[in-house]
Amino acid sequence: MLRLKKFIYPYWKNILFAVIMVVVVAAADLSLPDLLSQIINVGIQQRGIESPLPDAISANTMRSLSLLQSPQDHEQLLAFYDLVEPGSPQAGDQAGKIPALTREAVYVLQPVDEAQKAELESLISKPLIFIQALRLLQNDPEQAKTLLGENFPAQTLSLPKDRDLSELLAAMPEAQKTAMLSAAEKHLSALEGSILQQLTIAAITGEYEQLGIDTQQTQTRYILKTGSRMLLVAFIALLASLTVSFFASKTAAGIGRDVRSAIFNKVENFSQAEFEKFSTASLITRTTNDVSQVQMVVFMLIRMAIQAPLIGTLGIIYALQKSPGMWWTIALVVISLMVVIITVFSLALPKFKIIQELIDRLNLVMRENLSGMLVVRAFNKQRYEESRFDQASLDVTENQIFIGRAMAFIFPLMNIVMFGGQVLIIWIGAGFVARSAIQVGDLIAFMQYSMQIFFSFMMLSMLFIFIPRAGVSGGRIADVLETPFSILDPSQPKPLPENRRGLVEFHDVDFRYPDAEKDVLHDISFTAEPGQTTAIIGSTGSGKSTLVNLLPRFFDVTKGKITLDGVDIRELTQHDLRDQIGYAPQRGLLFSGTVESNLRVGAPNASEEEMRQAVTSAQAADFVFDEGDGLAMEIAQGGSNVSGGQKQRLSIARALIKKPPVFIFDDTFSALDFKTDAALRKELSQKLGNSTVLVVTQRVSTAKNSDQILVLDNGRLVGKGSHSDLMRSCQTYQEIASSQLSEEELA
């Protein structure tokens, strides 16, 4: 993938933006459990009271506080509270919130910062709890017993119901008060942290009730407030996530498009040597499937590669904030998950690899059975084929069962890890809760974080399955893009000579494939004159096609040179050179479209009359005009709707219409029946009067009437001359001729 990095650069802005939005999504996702734990902790447990520092204290309670606190502490406390008298303008403002203000004076908290708040909390919490406890004892000794427990220090005090608590405290002997206070201090100090806070909140709630504040409403308001924050966060998460998808899909599709275009442009300029190096099928896969593969992974990477580790890390951080002591539970869950995934996949992966081969094998056997149906039945081999198929099918089945069962393990196991983890967290968490080290709401949040961490690790392991695959595709693409061209235009091309006749000369030409040990063509020299036909004959593998492929520079010669009208073809641009050549390939390659569109490949501006003529000359009139729809006749991809011979005739027409000085017919007559072959050759000899014609053929009958015949054997030119010359002098030619022509014809 890294080798394709230059395709990523143009999209850095998109990617950066998507990444920022991914961070937003992760943060939003992670803050939801926190908000939920706030609803549970503050909204439910603390009745919506966020801070253990009362916003308002009745004058009576303040008096009681003054009696229970040291004078300095009380001084400090009073400095932050304003005494609001009923009937004052301030009281009017606050009366809505504090109904008691209509009848009595109330101390109202001034705005304070966090540090001051913490200090005040520590000053006020214990005395306030104590006051509330005493009040409870005073008013309902029975309930106090159940709520505060049997051994609460002030249990034995006699507190008459009808007397004001501050008066009672004031009247209390100093020694008794001190003893009681120290006992209370001891009792409360035993309860540290969150429980103390809960008690303070309970005390504040009691105080608020005294002041006539609607605590129910406070709670509802808090829940609504936090709820709407959750909604807001959820909306932000959605928007951010849509933005990510938007940029990720644009980037992925864009990179896909750019890579596809780059590889197509590259391949279009490949010469035959590069095509043979990669094979056509492989180049097609690289341009299509591999690019899609890369495109998909880019999309996944942008969305998941950052999100998963981010959520994992942030989840761990947040979870540890809730309770650092429980880190190992998460570690245990994640490690177990990894163990499950790695074990199952290492078991199944080798089978995954072979299953594709087995399925291919199954398909192959079936395809062979279908394509060879005649032979199978002719040899009575139905049972044999069935057992071959059965074996392949059994192999597939066995493997599928293995993989399916391995996969059947993975999901229940993962569920166990996940839910077992939850149980573990509550089990361990209970101990922490008992020690007041964590609140219940935070424990629930911790559980949710652990789930998010779990899922992020799952996502990561998925990425690790996908990335290597895309890596392979990326590498295959890069291989193509990094392949140097073997055939280049000269830096200062020569123009075509003024007088273009089409004289082709080979001067001591050698050709060998890159990295091959032996020459395919060796020491070839000949001249093909304008107005003459040169036939090239020889057995398969003798190098006939290679020889004519050198002329349009599908390959470059290894040694020697080829000239066109005296100019070395390597000094011309490929474009100019090929403009001089009309080429009809071995397999009459046609493109999808119509007859007309195929002819226009040869001559983009040909008139209808010219096209008709070309078709007629190529002996294609019968099926194009008589049986087909004329020039508008549809041609399917690969010309699959016309026969081999028809393809060849159309490809000849395509070469004819170009009217170039040089023609190459690379075994173009092989699929024609003899009658058509003869008619076509007759027609060509009239039409191509002044052109240089090179004809590759296997048939002696085709070569026979040429002006010059080149006989190739194993890449060497073993004979050159007319039919009758060669019949006398060239043994290879004689062998070929005798195998094809009857005695009578040879004579």
Binding site: F235, R377, E386, S393, V433, R578, F591
Partner: protein
């Protein structure tokens, strides 16, 4: 949580292997199927057929379904008991606040936790059993289906394959069977667990609090409508994307395949222009489709979060009123979250079932295609075959309404050679196909040694023939295996002797591995001519009384061609032979020439007779050698 959807393991991976596949597997990967589904013509019948086909596995599948449902039920109780644990914990905290010496009741808590763990363990175990069972059963049913399909193929008359392409048949054996497999293996249990889960979770939610359930579920119809809209929209883009991907792949294939021509005609620029055009359209539809698909999940999450918030708010309120426990909120939220995935699965059920019905419809349709006519009740035996062949007033047409052979009669004496000539596509192989009873004639009779071929079993009849066709069919296997195809009980020596007779021994020994060399898929590691020699060796080994040869040897190099002709000549000696002739010498030496044109036998007789008749044959003959004559004349 989204654990309950397993990946469709083998739905997509076949595609790369079958490029001649007209109908790729249509299965969506995620919870929402993006590919528009296809429908069975007769849903009910197809499904009934499938169920009937399962036979004895039916009950096992039913059992597995029950296990799946039970596994789901156990897992549904999980969050609830886990919630109870939280509640117990909360109670403990209250007790601590109240200074109750009991504090957190660890005994009760542990009991609850153990119960939870037990529930999950049972659920996982049942899930495992279900997966195990279904994998085995579905694989066995799939295997059985494939087996029956492969056997069916061999019982179908050849005429069936004139109507149906290879790709289509292949697609039934692979894609359709895979679809059925995936449904049995995964979709079916997914459906069951989804339905169970939805019902169970619903019951749980209502039992916790009906008001919260109502509010939580208010999001469901909204989600459904939303998904519908988005899916519909993205389906359009998806289809467009697939279409343009198809166009671009087509263009690439074509341009790379025709690279030489393209370069020869300086067509690169036009090709690139066209490519860029397609590529840009693809880009637009690709990102739109991808974006719209990617919208679904986050939007669903928002909707689920809305439910979550509403539940948290309402739940918090209810807890303060003492009408709900903290643990119940927690459980409820878990339930709400686990509600969405199965709901989406259920929304997809019709799609999956339709695909399955369509697949099984095609499979069962194929299995019920009429087979070759039955063999004769009391088949006659041909012990020693002399090789006398007679056609009596044979009438035949691939479509009986349009006979192409009207009234054909010929008597061939043992050892005679019959040449069949005619232009390409004239139906020269039709006669061969009738003779070997690949097709049954409409009227008249064909006799071998005086016995009507209908009175013989097909295998007995075909045993008397060997054929060497131009389309050299070899399979992926060793050279030895391929030759032995002619006669299975042949010894290694006999195989090699046959190869030697067919001039295939020499080149085989020069190949890496010799007779053990494995021919690759399209046997492209030996040349076309060598392939032909191997098929001749195969025929030699079969040692038949009657021989069918196709002389066409295009794209064979001249030297091998000589060998092939020599081998064929050797093979023909002493046997009744039907030659699809291309060589003049064969034609002239033949005892009888049958001239075919447009599938019909237009003339028959010896070379001289036919020339004298001055008909189609004479025309053909003269045209072929006119050029040769012309040259001779000019050179003379």
């Amino acid at each position: 949580m989204s654990f309950h959807q397993q990946p469709r393991s083998n739905s997509m991976k076949n595609q790369s292997a079958q490029n001649n596949n007209p109908r790729p597997v249509r299965r969506g990967g995620g919870p929402v199927a993006l590919m528009p589904g296809e429908k069975a013509k007769d849903f009910k019948t197809s499904m009934l057929l499938l169920i009937r086909y399962m036979g004895r596995h039916k009950w096992a599948i039913l059992g597995a379904m029950l296990v799946a449902a039970a596994s789901t039920v156990f897992s549904i109780f999980g969050p609830r008991t886990l919630g109870q644990a939280t509640t117990e914990l909360y109670r403990g905290v209250v007790r601590i606040i109240q200074n109750d010496p009991l504090g957190i009741d660890f005994a009760t808590l542990n009991q609850i936790l153990l119960r939870t763990l037990f529930l999950y363990l049972i659920s996982a175990l049942l899930g495992l059993i279900q997966g195990f069972l279904l994998t085995g059963i579905s694989a066995r049913i799939t295997y059985q289906l494939r087996k029956e399909l492969s056997e069916k193929i061999n019982r179908l008359p050849l005429s069936f394959f004139d109507k149906v392409t290879q790709g289509e048949v292949l697609s039934r054996v692979t894609n359709d069977v895979d679809t059925i497999n995936a449904t049995l293996n995964q979709s079916l249990s997914q459906i069951i667990t989804s339905v169970t889960r939805v019902i169970g979770v619903l019951i749980m939610m209502v039992s916790i609090n009906w008001l919260m359930t109502l509010i939580g579920l208010a999001m469901v119809p909204i989600s459904m409508i939303f998904i519908r809209i988005v899916v519909k929209k993205s389906q359009g883009y998806y289809r467009q994307q697939q279409e343009f991907l198809g166009h671009i792949n087509g263009h690439v294939e074509e341009m790379y395949g025709g690279h030489l021509v393209l370069k020869a005609f300086n067509g690169e620029k036009a090709s690139v222009t066209r490519f860029e055009e397609l590529n840009n359209t693809l880009y637009t539809s690709a990102w739109r489709s991808q974006f719209l698909t990617a919208i679904i999940m986050p939007s669903m999450r928002l909707l689920s979060n809305l439910g979550y918030v509403a539940v948290a708010m309402l739940g918090g309120y209810l807890v303060t009123r003492g009408r709900l426990n903290i643990g119940e909120i927690q459980a409820f939220i878990q339930y709400l979250r686990s509600f969405q995935d199965p709901l989406m699965n259920i929304a997809n059920i019709t799609n999956i079932l339709q695909q399955t019905a369509a697949a099984s419809e095609r499979v069962f349709e194929f299995l019920s295609e009429p087979e070759e006519p039955k063999e004769a009740d009391h088949p006659k035996q041909l012990a020693e075959v002399r090789g006398e062949v007679e056609f009596r007033h044979v009438r035949f047409g691939y479509d009986p309404a349009e006979p192409i052979i009207h009234d054909f009669s010929i008597k061939v004496e043992p050892g005679q050679q019959i040449a069949i000539v005619g232009p390409t596509g004239a139906g020269k192989t039709t006669l061969v196909k009738l003779l070997m009873r690949f097709y049954d004639i409409d009227s008249g009779e064909i006799l071998i040694d005086g016995v009507n071929i209908r009175d013989l079993t097909r295998s007995d009849l075909r045993e008397k023939f060997a054929m060497v066709l131009q389309d050299t069919w070899l399979f992926k296997g060793t050279i030895r295996e391929n030759i032995r195809y002619g006669r299975e009980d042949a010894t290694d020596e006999e195989v090699e002797q046959a190869a030697d007779m067919a001039y295939a021994d020499h080149f085989t020994r020069t190949l890496p591995g010799g007779y053990e060399m494995v021919l690759n898929e399209d046997a492209s590691n030996v040349s076309a001519g060598q392939k032909q020699l191997l098929t001749i060796a195969r025929a030699v080994l079969a040692n038949p009384a009657i021989l069918i040869l196709d002389e066409a040897t295009s794209s064979v190099d001249t030297r091998t061609e000589v060998l092939i002709q020599k081998a064929m000549d050797k093979l023909m000696k002493g046997r009744t032979t039907f030659v699809i002739a291309h060589r003049l010498s064969t034609i002239r030496n033949a005892n009888r020439i049958l001239v075919l044109k447009d599938g019909d036998i237009v003339e028959q007789g010896s070379h001289e007779e036919l020339l004298a008749a001055n008909g189609f044959y004479a025309d053909l003959y003269h045209s072929q050698f006119a050029a040769a004559r012309g040259t001779e004349a000019s050179q003379a």
